[in-house]
Amino acid sequence: MTWLSQTAPPALTSAVVEACDLSIVFGSGEHRTVALTTVDLAILRGEFVSLIGPSGCGKTTLLRAIADLEQPTGGHLSVNGKTPAQARRERAYGYVFQAPALYPWRNIERNVMLPLEIMGRSLAERRASAKRNLELVGLSEFAQRFPWQLSGGMQQRASIARALSFEPALLLMDEPFGALDEITRDGLNVHLLDLWRRTNMTVVFVTHSIPEAVYLSTRIVVMSPRPGRIVDVIPSDLGRDRPLDIRDTPEFLQVAHRVRTALHAGRSYD
């Protein structure tokens, strides 16, 4: 599935992320692991794309490659028409990890201000941005608290606020809600969707939960391990307004079924 030619000039495409025949191999000889092979994917502006698959299918590796935290060993990967390294230096994306990774010696407000500090913005700008983003995630009253004083879900929301602080057009999230209980997770899913609608960002979201992927995304990329590859790309056209109980509608279940079948077909359960 090749989407766009490698030589198309950036201005003509609205592809935020483009992978052509991308492959990533770790190690050599006996310890050679093919994390990704022949990955072709284009993510357009404003999409919410989920990468789903079991462990070892390369979804996190793909996300990290987009973030310039891993290097491709074959093929081509571009972010905003540039190399991932350039995109990283231009602060083109925000990254949210599985763990909140907040600094315990800074309060929430100063944690959210951290990226802007590194980018050298003024104190007034940093304060204003922190205020805005904490409001976006609903943590305004907790700005002066310390991370250990907040629950897991709230800490993760703070780390999302931090990722948004410099207003990136691209948000990369690696199983951000994986460590939380289902009830908190539901709440955060609604929150995230709301955020996405309001900011019109492009989101690439790694998960291993089928309902979460179907609920949040506009497109679902099903991956499979050994070697890591894309098995199927499934659109999830459930409309932009998605209350939680959409998960019981037949359309939702249909998409979920398609995803499940694709996972099975990719021998993901071996």
Binding site: R91, A99, A101, W105, I118
Partner: protein
Amino acid sequence: MIVAALALTASLGLGWAMLIRWAARDGRAYGIATPLLFGALLLWCWEVVCIGFGVPRVLLPAPTEIARAFATHLPMLWADFVQTVVRAVLPGYALGCAAGYLAAIALDRSLFLRRGVLPLAGLLGAMPIVGIAPIMVMWFGFDWPSKAAVAAVMTFFPMLVNTVAGLSGTGAIERDLMRSYGASYWQTLVKLRLPAALPFVFNALKLNFTLALIGAIVAEYFGTPIVGMGFRISTEAARLDLDVVWAEVALAAITGSACFAALALLERVVLFWHPSVQKFALSGR
């Protein structure tokens, strides 16, 4: 003497019973009171045995006699304190810790150098460093600079090893995050890795004070002008003036504990965010 024996057994029995009851209780107050009671019982035991059973002073003076010696010789004790602690230990401690810290930062840039230096630093740190005292006396003379030098060398290695360990301990996620912000090496060092290394640094700071104190005192056994804690201890011990010796030892103990407590307090303030400090604050143990 029989009276003493009876008094001793009675009070010890009572004290031990109290101790058992207190130890069974939880909470911060009992956590502090129980060891204090134990210490008090020990002192009481000591006093009664020495005075009641007539233990000769050249063998073991009673606590009250030591206290009296302490009070009587206060000016001399003060002079010794100044010579050893103020003039030798403090500068040596500060110098050694600072040098170790800076060396660790300098080593941070090169994995190759770290791999070469760290094993050697660990090895050298385990050596009887007090042995360099005579060499320091040869280089810096009899007075306090040689003792400060010994203290500095003794504190250098633990600080180096601990700071390097602290710098390497930052989580992969935190470092990836900094990378995603396009942070420079120095930004990552100052904003993330140095604060994260602070618990290790404090570990070394607390450990090092005792080392510096030991280093300075033992170094004085190798030669010193006629003042200083080590000097006093060795000469008075030879003269069998044991209550003065004990007074000096008490002074050393008080100094060591006081500075340790001060460092622990500072640690609680600076490391307010660290789980080990919080656990103590919350549970009282």
